[in-house]
Symmetry: C3
Subunit: 355 residues, 3 copies
């Protein structure tokens, strides 16, 4: 069970009630009135707890679980141990996520950092021209500048800074110490601690004796349901805007350069970097530490392996990897060939060919 010092638990829910909230159905013969109080992994779950099975690797753990209930796909129903109530789902992991959200709603979109939700702290700095909707939380040390608009249910955490003119939508969260400028932030956006949005892109007319700064005259548009990880940085556009599409999730310490346009539902894992004017289609996934050259385009559904360097356009649906990135199969074949060649070379040299 999650530490009650940090997490407030809702519930209990009956199995039937949970089913209706998590895109699942109660299996024939399972008791829909049984009370469920918490979520837990298969191996530690006990009485009153619900777990899930998605990966076939864990079928044995499923067969031995002491959970009161379990979320499973149709094909694993027959593996269920006696006495375990079942919720059947087409996407068990997704249903489990929804169940955990039911029990711990506050862990999905923090209501506050300081402990006084839904209040405007006397210790906040709110400009007289800013518009704050009812029900917003403005925490101690938070700064809301001239002309800002903050939506209802939004949280501006302790020591976060919302710079002049910036708008923040409903139920969005700006984490501790984060700063947002020259930006429009949509609804239900989560911006974690220390994120930097809207500062100048890196644009100079380079030369001697000085590099002349190109004024960065665009904005950052963060669409609905985006999440941005701690200490990531997103520069504003140079003229056009930098755009993060709806539902895109960005991990920690990621760099997004000016004019980058990211589609819907993309996933960008930690420490990746996108140079200026790059473009991502919808549902693109970049593994950890991927670097992407400027002015290139990745089509819808592209997947890039961790630690790759992308320097060419990638067609929709393709899976690429390596430095420079190329189709995964080609990349893997080349890696294996080079390893074998290096070994054979070593043997040749050591058997009579000298050093």
């Amino acid at each position: 069970m999650a530490d009650p010092r940090f997490f407030h638990k809702e519930g209990p829910f009956t199995l039937g009630d949970l089913a209706s909230r998590i895109e699942a159905t109660v299996h024939t013969g399972s008791d829909k009135t049984v009370s469920i109080q918490d979520v837990a992994p298969l191996d530690t779950a006990g009485v009153g707890e619900i777990s899930f099975l998605d990966n076939p690797k864990y079928v044995d753990a499923f067969a031995a679980t002491a959970a009161t209930a379990c979320i499973v796909g149709r094909k694993f129903i027959e593996k269920a141990p006696d006495g375990v109530a079942l919720l059947v789902s087409d996407q068990p992991y997704r249903s489990y996520a929804l169940a955990a959200q039911c029990f711990y709603p506050g862990s999905c979109r923090p209501s506050d950092t300081y402990g006084d939700a839904a209040t405007m702290s006397a210790g906040a700095h709110v400009h007289v021209s800013a518009k704050i909707a009812d029900g917003a939380t403005i925490e101690p040390g938070a700064v809301v500048s001239a002309g800002c608009e903050i939506g209802s249910g939004a949280v501006i955490s302790s020591n976060a800074v919302v710079a002049k003119g910036t708008t923040v939508g409903r139920d969005s969260y700006i984490g501790p110490g984060a700063s947002v400028s020259h930006a429009h932030v949509g609804d239900r956006v989560i911006i974690h601690a220390g994120v930097r949005i809207g500062q100048d892109g890196f644009g100079f007319a380079m030369g001697l004796p000085t590099h002349e700064k190109i004024p960065q005259l665009g904005r950052v548009i963060i669409q609905d349901d985006v999440e941005i990880g701690a200490n990531s940085t997103i520069d504003r556009g140079a003229g056009p805007d930098t755009i993060i599409g709806a539902g895109t999730k960005i991990d920690n310490l990621v760099q997004i350069g000016h004019n980058v346009v990211i589609g819907q539902g993309c996933i960008i894992v930690a420490q990746s970097g996108l140079a200026g004017s790059g473009e991502l289609g919808d549902y693109v996934a970049l593994g950890a530490r991927v670097g992407m050259l400027g002015h290139i385009k990745l089509g819808d559904g592209v997947q890039i392996a961790s630690r790759s360097s992308v320097i060419h356009d990638v067609p929709a649906g393709a899976r690429w990897g390596g430095t420079p990135a190329r189709p995964v199969r080609e990349w893997q074949r080349e890696l294996i060939a080079l390893q074998k060649m290096a070994k054979e070379y070593g043997k040749r040299k050591s058997s009579g060919d000298g050093n």
Copy 2:
């Protein structure tokens, strides 16, 4: 046109006035009294707007532009469409940068984040022993500590922290949530949001049972006209100082270790990292995600390709790349040879040599 919510536009300027401000001359036959109100790219510029041509790739866009005026190099004058007024410059992109700066001076060095420029906020924390020059802006939540000196025209943004003893020169900008300690910051320096300057370098006498901390007794010296990107980190020296030379521009999420000495006019692109005691000459350029080993030296004018790892000294003027970095030509030749060899090996194996 830039969003007036975020950008204050100056002007209009006559063509003649602009010419004198941007190192350009009015072309014979162009009307120096024509009024210019904004900058814009060739393809979107219209009446009252000025654009530029630098890259020959855009000659067609130049020939078709609807801009009222355009900045060009001498060699492209004859390609100009009828009715477009011309400013002739030896460095058209540089002149364009200067023109954009004329129209949007505030976008080059922010006057404030909160909306009350040139004031000392009642919500700032200013130590009684700190010296603040007239005309400095100290924003809400900003902390200016004991013994600090802040120059005239400087901006200490919302929730920025200037630690005890630190000095900040004239017209410098410390962005929201940034922190600076053990440092002397020159004039016209731009330190973006979340930058960390002056914390301990990573120095330990490693061993069992504990790693003993080596006191870090140096400072960070940031010379004039330096720009440092969001969430970058610059550690103070271990005994000698860490030094960032005048006019050097550093992008986001860059790490600079203790004792690093960087010359004038260098460019360091995002997510690069320089280990302790490295040295860069003047006008060195590091592409994105470059890593540099400690205690090595790059001569004046060195250029390192993105994502390279530099582990040896590099002579002045050289262009290196790869991991480990070596002269670009050598590196490229090797990459191509290995690719070809891997392909030939694959064909050999599949045509009778077994797998």
Copy 3:
């Protein structure tokens, strides 16, 4: 000598007094009453200063030093110049670190940022339910939230945020602008400026049309004597905790994913990244920019070369490097073979084999 603007120097100490504090002994014939006022490198040290010799590379500098005293290993005693007092140590660099700590104790664990140590600033935001031990320093703009407990001697720096329920041990330091949530922080921990601890791990049930957030229900446990570099990020666990073992030292801009468990005395150099559920034994060392895949385990004492990508478990005591990482000897042999092969291929092609 360190700049007195930033560093407060203690002392002088007699040679004998120093010896007893730094795990060294006064060499026969050296005067234990001589007064030592500062530390300095061999080449710049002068009267009243103590230096050290550890690396044989500097024996000549040792022989020529003008230092009043020097810390050396037994084997170099005879190389000492006339008139230099000697402290003999089994670990001269470690002893030197301890000596520097004697002269500059404040540079090892900052007492404050603002200039008013050991006070609770009127400009801090301290929740009425927080418990602050006597002798803690809470600086201007710092936020200490509901239910927090702050140990004696701890420093919560300017504009740092300690989120609700978090505990901070004795003599620990939370740097300017850093934020800590869902965490228990031990004693004598140093968390530098801008560090982000305790935010959500990057966990989603990915799918269409939306990626569903997995509630992150664990905590971050930071054991005693840990140090964490500027702008690094440590996510809280998904269910289990993220744990940083006692005495581990982490450099700047490092990413630690959810559920990672790090042993004692590890060293993690700048810009490295550990994906979720990774495990490090005790005294593991990761060079700069190392990436580590999720769900893998590195045994005690493992060393990984800079810029490597670790994608498999590594046995205790092993030294690995490369992408993907493998035993260092194997990796180096392969690199050299490939370089030679590429050269030979180039020669073959240019001598009659066509291009």
